[in-house]
């Protein structure tokens, strides 16, 4: 009996895993054309409200470390390593914002200090538990793209 429950659980887990994998574009399959990634990485639009959290959360995007953003005037200490993101949604098409977040090198240059948030093109000696992992998930990238598009 016990055994049966366990094996059912594993089958169920395997199935949901498959469903997710079918819709989400893996980092190595992302295609950049003309600076743009044309389709959503999850197949669905992101949630701007969630994206706002990904932007400011130090454990997630931590974008404020390097960018100022007037929409977050209530937060202390905005970085200045990168440009202010005020108006980013006017300056950039969502398809290019997606590329900037996925791997900024594709839009700027190999020299950019902006990390690739959904890329396996990373530095050397990556912390062991992070090998093969991206900083953000496809969903978090889409949420960010939705949020950045609201910065007019």
């Amino acid at each position: 009996m016990m055994r049966k429950i366990v094996s059912t659980a594993i089958v169920a887990l395997g199935m949901t895993g498959l469903v997710v994998a079918a819709d989400v574009t893996a980092p190595e399959d992302v295609k950049v054309e003309n600076l743009a990634i044309s389709a959503s990485l999850t197949g669905a639009p992101g949630n701007a409200e969630e994206g706002k959290n990904v932007f400011s959360n130090r454990k997630l995007g931590n974008c404020l470390a390097c960018h100022a953003n007037s929409d977050m005037a209530d937060q202390l200490f905005h970085g200045e390593v990168g440009p202010s993101l005020d108006g980013a949604g006017t300056r950039w098409q969502p398809e290019v914002l997606r590329t900037i977040v996925v791997n900024a090198k594709e839009v700027f240059s190999d020299e950019t200090v902006m990390p690739g948030f959904y890329s396996l093109d990373v530095g050397e000696d990556v912390r062991k538990d992070l090998i093969g992992k991206t900083i953000l998930t496809a969903q978090q990238v889409e949420d960010l793209v939705a949020y950045l598009s609201t910065l007019k």
Binding site: N34, S84, G116, R127, K128
Partner: protein, 282 residues
Amino acid sequence: MNYSRIALIALGATLTASLIAAPVDEKLVIDGELEMTTVAPSPEGHPLPEVRSGWHYRTETTRALEADSFENPGMLGVEQGEELWNTVEGTAGKSCASCHQDAAETMAGLGAVYPKWHEASGKPINIELQINACRVNNMGAEAYKFDKGGQKPLTAYIKHQSLGEPVKVSLEEGDMQAWWERGKELYYKRTGQLNLSCASCHEKNNGKYIRADHLSQGNVNGFPTYRLKQGNLISLHNRFRGCIRDTRAEYPAAFSDDLMALEVYTTWRGQGLSVETPAVRQ
């Protein structure tokens, strides 16, 4: 749609608009009498136009703490170091003072020329490792483990005997040049999931804020430094490891060849600055 045109125009506009918070232009004078060199001309081949101490990038309160040796909390560590200097330890029944007498004389200027070539080991040696060598070979005592025992205070005490002296690393001795090259490679090596090198922060972006931190040139002339955040003396290799860890990378062991090479190279990058030990940092 021509994305690249929009991209370039947008970038140009935002970059010129972004502000650069320059480091303050002031003089560091310790106790109103010892004038420190906190800006120096770059040694030949240095990528930056001038060399600047991290002191310039700290807040007014933090800068003031360093300028007054009674207020400087790092001086407590220096006093502990003085006690250790005079403490007998090990099977030979000796203290550092038994052989080196008054540190104010015998150690004067010494901290400014480390790391230096060490013929016996065929590697560069820093103050921490020289202390351990004397403890093991001359005192019959155990080597201090990294950051443990008296390692930080005794190092601070010895370096403090060179307060105000210009940092100078001698690359002509032994294989120092090769260690410098290795250190340089590491300095520009991008590491970790965040894919950043020392240069990404301390060369390209010094003078700018990364969140609440005002990025300096990452000079090493104040180590061990007193960090207000930790409320403690912080060793150089601890700082190196912390900076590498923050790129989400595995970091080398203290005193490993990699970190010794990085110490040789970063010391050279700050050549000409006064030894500030114990510097006060945030």
